[in-house]
């Protein structure tokens, strides 16, 4: 038996036994170390007879590869076992709580304003704004509500001076005046914002939110007004059909004027919008009064159109089942958390208003 065969048999049998990483490294160095058995054989190649040299070299290479493969296999095996042992020790209770996180929320009124803007955006309205402090002219006189008009009684106004020239706007309608004075017709705007009346009880808050709408162009009539509001209400409440009633009313700045009711019913204690035989008043509207147009230098013989005003808080209450108006402004952490919206829930046309 040649030396080579002897080395091979000895070490193959050794490598079949149970070995740890140190023993294996010992074997590795016994074979392939500087003076290892295999290394020594390679050094011998030059001394071997030329006729046998080729075969010897070839046999040696084969044995070297064979042993090397065996060793590598063994190393892998041992490493695998070692890793598994280690992993077994590292097991952790994954039901322990995650690192804490906090969720911010968007106020339902802000969310509702975004929903409203999104709906009106689709039919070509753009958003205008006006200041919270107004002068008496923009809030009343320009809106065809001169001093001593009984309609002023319907607005309990907060004043900032004794002369009653500066006030907190009682509605968003002065934005109509500002917009029309600033630009030339046509106008197609909505104006959401804060409004104020010195009224405070269960159903009234001294501050609330309105959205004003104004569309002035040639030949805009009450049919367009009805169509626009019908579209808005359907989209807002995310229903296919809406029962809606226009009822004559009076606002000094529109004529003819209307109040709009929507049908509803109470099912299992919940309000269902759009059906039923009960009526709920949700907004006031009408054709912009020629006197108002004259006040802002728009010729009522050439241009006409409609305006509307909607209570935003009330819309939010109806859509999201909020009972108490006062709670909107009470900043109760629990309430904000419950009725607030995730900031990532941005109302858009393509992915819908709400989840």
């Amino acid at each position: 038996m040649s030396d080579l065969k002897k080395i091979k048999d000895e070490f193959v049998s050794k490598l079949k036994g149970k070995l740890d990483l140190a023993e294996l490294n010992q074997i590795k160095s016994d074979l392939f170390g500087k003076n290892g058995l295999i290394s020594s054989q390679f050094k011998k190649i030059g001394t071997i007879d030329a006729s046998e040299r080729k075969k010897f070299a070839s046999d040696l290479n084969i044995i070297k590869d064979e042993l090397q493969d065996l060793i590598n296999l063994k190393i892998n095996e041992i490493e695998k076992v070692n890793i598994n042992e280690k992993l077994e020790k590292e097991k952790i209770d994954v039901t322990l709580p995650e690192r804490s996180f906090v969720r911010g929320k968007i106020h339902p009124v802000s969310q509702t304003i975004d929903e409203i803007s999104s709906i009106f955006s689709e039919i070509g309205f753009s958003v205008e704004e006006g200041p919270d402090v107004e002068n008496e002219y923009n809030n009343f006189t320009a809106l065809n509500t001169p001093d001593n008009h009984p309609a002023r009684d319907m607005h309990d106004t907060f004043y900032l001076d004794e002369k009653k020239e500066r006030l907190l706007r009682t509605h968003t309608s002065p934005v109509q005046i500002r917009t029309m004075l600033k630009d030339k017709p046509p106008f197609k705007i909505i104006a959401p914002g804060r409004t104020y009346r010195s009224d405070s009880d269960q159903t009234h808050s001294p501050m609330f939110h309105q959205v004003e709408g104004l569309h002035i162009d040639k030949n805009i009539n009450m049919g367009h007004l009805k169509g626009c509001l019908n579209y808005f209400i359907k989209e807002f409440f995310e229903v296919k059909k809406i029962k809606m009633r226009f009822r004559p009313s009076h606002f000094p700045f529109t004529e003819p004027s209307a109040e709009v009711d929507i049908g509803y019913e109470i099912k299992d204690g919940k309000i269902i919008i759009g059906e039923g035989d009960q009526w709920l008043e949700i907004l006031g509207c009408g054709m912009v009064h020629p006197n108002v147009l004259k006040n802002v230098k728009v010729d009522p013989a050439k241009f006409q159109g409609y305006a509307f005003g909607i209570g935003i808080d009330r819309l939010a209450m109806l859509k999201y089942g909020i009972n108490d108006l006062r709670a909107f402004f009470d900043c109760d952490y629990r309430w904000l958390n419950h009725f607030g919206f995730d900031p990532l829930d941005v109302p858009t046309n393509y992915r819908g208003l709400s989840r």
């Binding site: 322990l96 690192r99 804490s100 911010g104 929320k105 968007i106 106020h107 802000s110 009106f120 955006s121 689709e122 039919i123 070509g124 309205f125 753009s126 704004e129 200041p131 919270d132 402090v133 002068n135 001593n148 008009h149 009984p150 319907m154 907060f158 004043y159 900032l160 001076d161 009653k164 500066r166 907190l168 010195s198 009224d199 405070s200 001294p206 501050m207 009539n221 009450m222 049919g223 367009h224 009805k226 169509g227 226009f246 009822r247 004559p248 009313s249 009076h250 004529e255 003819p256 109040e259 020629p290 009470d330 900043c331 109760d332 952490y333 629990r334 904000l336 607030g340 900031p343 990532l344």
Partner: protein, 801 residues
Amino acid sequence: MKITFDWLKDHLKTNLKEKNLLEQLTNIGLEVESVESLSSDNQLFKIAKIIKTEKHPNADRLKVCDVNVGEKELKKVVCGATNASEGLITIYAPPGAIIPKTNTKLEIAKIRGVTSYGMLCSESELNLSDESDGITELSKKHEKNIGKSYFSKSKSNLIDLSITPNRPDCLGVKGIARDLAASGFGRLIVSKEKKIKLKTKQTLKVKINKEKGQGCSAFGSCLIKNVKNTESPQWLKDKLISVGQKPISAIVDITNYVMLDINRPLHAYDADKIEKGIFVRNSKSGEEFTALDNKIYKLEKGMCVISDNKGVLGLGGIIGGTRSGTEFDTKNILLESAYFDPRSIRNTAKKLNLDTDAKFRFERGIDPLSIETGLKKAASLIQEICGGEVSKIDIQKTESYKTKIINFDVNSFENIVGFKISEKEIQRILTDLGFIIKKEKNSLKLIVPSWRPDISQQIDIIEELVRISGYDKIKTIDPIKDRSKSTLTQTQRLFHFLQRAIASKGYLETITWSFTDQSYNNHFREAGKEIKIVNPISSELGVLRNSIFSNLIMYMSKNLDRGFKDLSIFEIGPVFTGSNPGEQKTVVCGLSAGKKSRLSWIDKERNIDLFDAKRDVVQTLSEAGYNSDHFFIDSKTPNYYHPGKSGRIFLDHSKDKVAAYFGEIHPNILKKIDIKTENLIGFEIFLENLKLSRKTLKDQKLKFSVSDFQKSERDFAFVVNKDVEAQELISVISNVNPNLISNIKVFDVYEGENIPDNQKSIAISITIQSSEKTLKDKDLEKINNSIIEAVENKTGAKIRS
């Protein structure tokens, strides 16, 4: 305005039902607010007779009465009235009845140990009169009606209408009937004026002073002599009670009835109490009179008063005075029917803070041509009920009524309303509403009825026509989905972006009132102007807010009191800098309290601090598109922040406008408002101070360039004086070679051992990378030396070896 269907039927012939009526009223703009059934409650009050009275065993002033209420058994009722005596016929209210005066429901009750089954009522308790002294005494002829209801059964319900301020004509039942008839709901009954003989002359002189600002333009009157004022007959009492009015005396009741029926306010004077005639004049400053509400009013100059030689009798069209009021013993009366200018009425009432039924009507505009009709209608009723002789009618005028004429273009209707009605229909509606029509070539010439002060131009006619035709006829024209202008401006987009960016960092959005408590506001006002509300709803809401903090801190405190410890809230909204329109700024204001990682099994808990707020602000601004590398930060902040633990951020080194403040709220404020938390951190971002980028995302995204050459990181530690800011070091370093220095990061700040007092060590990691080549050791060496040199020279630092 309260009406009943029965009363309406005095003016309206119809076979339709009340249900239809309610619908139709709303359809034509006379909104039904509520429908109340009065009759069913009233039916409980029975005519009864006291059979026996005994003294109450435990109370001297009370009696225990056995009362026959028409049932087999007598009822035991405890009564305190002195006139409760055997044999008296009176009115009994059983348990369950609601007493009209107090609106309380009767229950079986023990009164001083004796059970009382119901109550015997005074006239005042039943709203029949002011008589509250003793229980009602009915005449013997009621004996046969014992057990029957005292109130005659009213068939119709009380309908409360909300009449808009432009429709004074509908403050009378007749006006409502006219509208209904025009809309096809029945036919208007043309009532014939009752003929009365007017023989004698009106001998009391009436004069309207011609003076500037005279509020009365016509004063009609007649004298009725030798009347006997009594209680009203049942039909009249029933009528007034049916609409919730209290009968007083025949004369007062009749004037009220005429007012409610045709909206013609009248006033009856005791003619014998008027000294030498009536003068309608402007008041003098300081004049006083006692009004029928028993209050003394001190008048300003120029209010329209009715006076005699002795002084003011009443405020014209608002309220009469006690001196000339009618009583049951009044013999001769002067009946007034006048026209007062709405503006004058409103001015006076506002100044005196007086609200009366007459004022409500006159300020909306009374039919100036109803003076005579009203006088005649009332006079004939007075004569019928109280007797007496009626004088001729005297009308003094300073100006006469001018009829209003409108030329109506028939086509304008469709133009505004969007549907068409025939000219014939137009004429019919307008005629029914009382217009007189003359057809002209291209239009209709319309004479407006005198009772419609609201109608003066074409659009008013269109409103009438569409209101009566029905709003349901208006077509629905679907909107076109077309957008020619962007929905939001850039500023509005930024508003929404900031709002959601802050919320996404764990802040709950709140909305608080724009006004606030003065004392809270003062903590955050600095030198800002205090803007007071003249008429606040309460003193705690007396000023416009100069900062959002005042409200946020108040509500934060409330939430902490509810037991929440760690929370962040914010608001985006206006703060005010002055009381003129536009003197306001939009601020995003946030407030955080408590700790981070409270009670965490994994993270170390710590108080929330200003670097939390700074991160939220800087991250938000970065997300909104502002490059935080350019920010300049210093520590000059308003006095409501902790002076050492707060900062302000500018978007760049030009320090143009403050973009934001952040920091701890001043400890003195926390102490004053007694807020309990580990730490309170706030920030304010000023929307209008953020410059809007001229570049849209579309433009910004175009260029993309990065370096793939090897980068090196080098750490430096500098020892500097304590007052040298990290920002300064960073700024110096970045200027050494902006092309090569790509990232500078402070990773340690140290004070203490091995560092001299008043100095600190700042450790900085710097990334060096070229976009052109791989830097060699000597290149790096060179830049290292430049960095050390620059920092040492410019900040007085020493590199730490």
